[in-house]
């Protein structure tokens, strides 16, 4: 598996950003590559690798952003991505990114990377925070003790990034001479004894430094153990014996004995290179943190975050929608007066799609995206996870599921991918099946534009609370099918950090661009298709096909059949097509309040959109995707049907 040691193009330098979670790898990546990957102040923002070509110092570099990993012994799917890439032999230089304020902890991975013996540079990121903590680092000494060069930088401000890459390129050109970490005598004797028996078959199988392989085996790395056992089971048995006796000598569990020795080396190294002087005064971030880490303040903040997420989107959305309404209407009247006939159908289709994007979707989407970006960047997400972990356990979920759940309010697709951060398969599957019930931005737009506009704030709040209750009910029901208990949460809580305008605005812009480039064309094409359908008169046939659902179960006009069908492609389409399907700009003239409620409830819950289904398939397999379709559709029919017949 880790055999091919060839670089695709020899002239191209391959640099990988590796480091522990939340140390700023993606921020460095974005600083040189433009905004290409999402960033946030919590562990596990990046779950798969992204590569791009960048031009630095007159040469092309293939730069790879890897998910964070605490060690090279991988546990969750995201960590495995990082480790497999680093071991693939494709990397020329590793940039080991470190949160300098957490230097001692970060050096554990650094030492493991040094053991791999691949050219590397250390990026001392968040250097300003470390200085504020009163930390001083002897960079030349770090170099003399490890052979690795280190560059201080503050990636969010872009300072030091250029020097970092220049150093990486220089290391690639001038060569790299590491100082291999040396352990206690009995550990070294153990390594030497195993190395002396290192089978040549294994040497052929693994194109990785032999000492590194032996250390991985001593650390009980499952993948290396499997490969070694397959290749030479006697050798593996010998490693077992060595490991057992090492554990006995030190009276330590077998699984932790090697790590504890490395930890001792890390502490020595840390004490040699870093001095911590007096801490600076309490920062504003710490003062806020003290408030929101308390149960009362924290729960108030959690509720406040949820409330502001939708209230801000609604109020600002209404404001923008009101502002653009007038100009769009007069443009429509102008068009009506100038185009007619079959060209008119095409033009009115395009016009409907365009105005729907500008007038209905974007006004609500933009404020929601801003709030979500602020949530990601400040570090509120892990704190919300802390507050609600205990509650979520009662519903078979995990505090770590908070990140996918809240991201789900933006878009279900990255939310389902974020479930990769959950270590246990059971937690992952439950979270993946629950996320499609969360009202993503497209569905939030529908709720705000229909329920918010026609039913009022009371019903809108009720719909959101009902939505949360249903999602929790689903996960609670699902978790009863599996008795495996996960051992509980272990999660990093980074300090609160101030958001940067240039990063938040880039994040929002990238997501709006996604809407413009992917969603808008679908909306425009569907818009034209709908106009053509009604022109040649086949919309009636499609509506009749769905009439058992629309008319009988949901008690809605059959004209909505086609709009609900189109919603499978993009949820916004249901809303956008509504006006043309019902042939009115004011939905309340055609639908009763109860019908609007049924329509909103059904749209929020029924079959996930195509993109979500595809992602579920990729992340969880066909079974999860199918289960999700069946689950969502039946829950939607049951709940919306009940509302239709009982309210």
């Amino acid at each position: 598996m880790w055999k091919s040691g060839t670089t695709s193009d020899k002239s191209e330098l391959v640099i990988a950003l590796a480091g522990q979670p939340n140390c700023g790898k993606s921020t460095i990546f974005n600083a040189v590559a433009g905004f290409k990957v999402n960033t946030g102040n919590f562990s596990g923002t990046t779950v798969s690798f992204t590569e791009t070509d960048v031009y630095i110092g007159g040469r092309t570099i293939r730069l790879i952003d890897l998910p964070g990993t605490y060690s090279l012994t991988a546990h969750d799917a995201a960590e495995r991505v990082a480790r497999d890439y680093l071991l693939s032999g494709r990397v020329d230089v590793i940039i080991n990114v470190i949160d300098t304020s957490l230097l001692a902890r970060s050096l554990e991975l650094t030492l493991q990377l040094i053991e791999m013996d691949v050219p590397m540079v250390v990026a001392l990121n968040m250097f300003d925070e470390a200085q504020k903590k009163g930390m001083e680092i002897d960079i030349p000494k770090l170099k003399s003790l490890t052979g690795v060069e280190a560059c201080p930088l503050v990636a969010v401000q872009g300072s030091g990034v250029h020097e970092l890459f220049e150093t990486a390129i220089r290391v690639a050109q001038e060569g790299f001479k590491r100082v291999a970490p040396v352990y206690d005598r009995d550990v070294e004797e153990c390594i030497a004894a195993i190395l002396a028996r290192y089978p040549s078959a294994l040497r052929e199988r693994l194109a990785v430094d032999e000492r590194f392989v032996v250390i991985q085996l001593l650390e009980m790395d499952e993948e290396f153990e499997t490969i070694t056992r397959e290749t030479d089971s006697d050798f593996m048995e010998y490693v077992h014996e060595c490991r057992r006796s090492l554990a006995q000598i030190h009276d330590w569990p077998e699984s932790g004995v090697f790590a504890s020795h490395r930890h001792a080396l890390v502490l020595d190294l840390f004490e040699e290179v870093a001095v911590v002087k007096s801490r600076a005064a309490v920062s504003p971030g710490e003062a806020i943190d003290r408030f929101i880490i308390n149960p009362v303040g924290g729960l108030a903040a959690t509720v406040g975050v949820f409330f502001s997420m939708f209230a801000v989107s609604f109020w600002i959305g209404n404001l923008i929608a009101g502002l653009v309404e007038g100009p769009l209407d007069s443009f429509g009247i102008y068009l009506n007066g100038h185009v007619s006939g079959s060209a008119g159908i095409l033009v009115s289709g395009i016009y409907d799609g365009f105005t729907a994007g500008v007038g209905i979707v974007l006004p609500y989407l933009i404020p929601l995206l801003v709030v979500l970006s602020l949530l990601e960047d400040t570090g509120l997400l892990p704190r919300i996870a802390f507050m609600v972990d205990g509650l979520l356990h009662r519903f078979g979920l995990h505090g770590k599921s908070v990140v996918p759940i809240i991201m789900g309010y933006g878009c279900n697709v990255p939310a389902i991918m974020a479930a990769r951060n959950l270590e246990y398969e059971r937690d992952r599957v439950v979270t993946m099946l629950m996320v499609p019930f969360i009202a993503c931005s497209a569905r939030t737009v529908i709720i705000l534009a229909l329920a918010g506009k026609y039913l009022g704030a009371g019903y809108t709040t009720l719909i959101y609370l009902g939505n949360i209750a249903i999602a929790l009910g689903i996960s609670s029901a699902l978790s009863r099918f599996s008795s495996d208990l996960s051992p509980g949460i272990i999660m990093d809580v980074p300090p609160l950090r101030r958001p940067y305008l240039h990063i938040v605005s880039r994040k929002v812009w990238v997501r709006i661009l996604e809407f413009l480039l992917f969603a808008w064309p679908i909306i425009a094409v569907s818009s034209i298709a709908l106009a053509v359908f009604s022109f040649i008169g086949i919309d009636g046939a499609i509506n009749r096909l769905f009439s058992p659902v629309t008319e009988i179960i949901l008690r809605l006009p059959s004209e909505l059949g086609i709009t609900l069908f189109l919603g499978i492609f993009r949820k916004e389409l249901t809303l956008i097509m509504l006006n043309s399907a019902l042939d009115t700009a004011d939905v309340s003239l055609v639908l009763s309040s109860e019908q609007i409620l049924v329509l909103v409830v059904f749209t929020v819950l029924y079959i996930p959109c195509i993109a979500t289904i595809t992602t579920l398939w990729k992340e969880g397999g066909a079974k999860v995707a199918l289960l999700s379709i069946v689950l969502n559709t039946s829950v939607a029919l049951a709940v919306a049907g009940a509302v239709a017949w009982l309210v």
């Binding site: 790590a259 880490i293 509650l391 356990h393 809580v493 300090p495």
Partner: protein, 78 residues
């Protein structure tokens, strides 16, 4: 004595962590090793996790109660 028995604001030294390999190395990854001095900053409501601070670096981690009951501690005084 285990971590679970500490009150908010208490400081102690981790003397031993038991549990599966996954838990052990996840704790190690977050810098929670034997011999480390930690402080319980806050216990989350609804029998939620404990917020632990590494006294030396100020790094904070949340740990579920199940895991915390497997972390043995001793008094801070050496």
């Amino acid at each position: 004595m285990t971590l679970l028995e500490l009150k908010e604001g208490d400081t102690a030294v981790i003397s031993r962590i038991s549990g599966g390999k996954g838990v052990l190395s996840r704790m190690a990854g977050l810098g929670l090793h034997e011999g480390k001095t930690i402080r319980v900053v806050q216990a989350a409501p609804f029998r939620g996790p404990l917020l632990i601070e590494d006294v030396l670096s100020g790094a904070r981690t949340m740990i579920g109660r199940g895991v915390a009951s497997h972390v043995e501690i001793r008094d801070d005084k050496r």
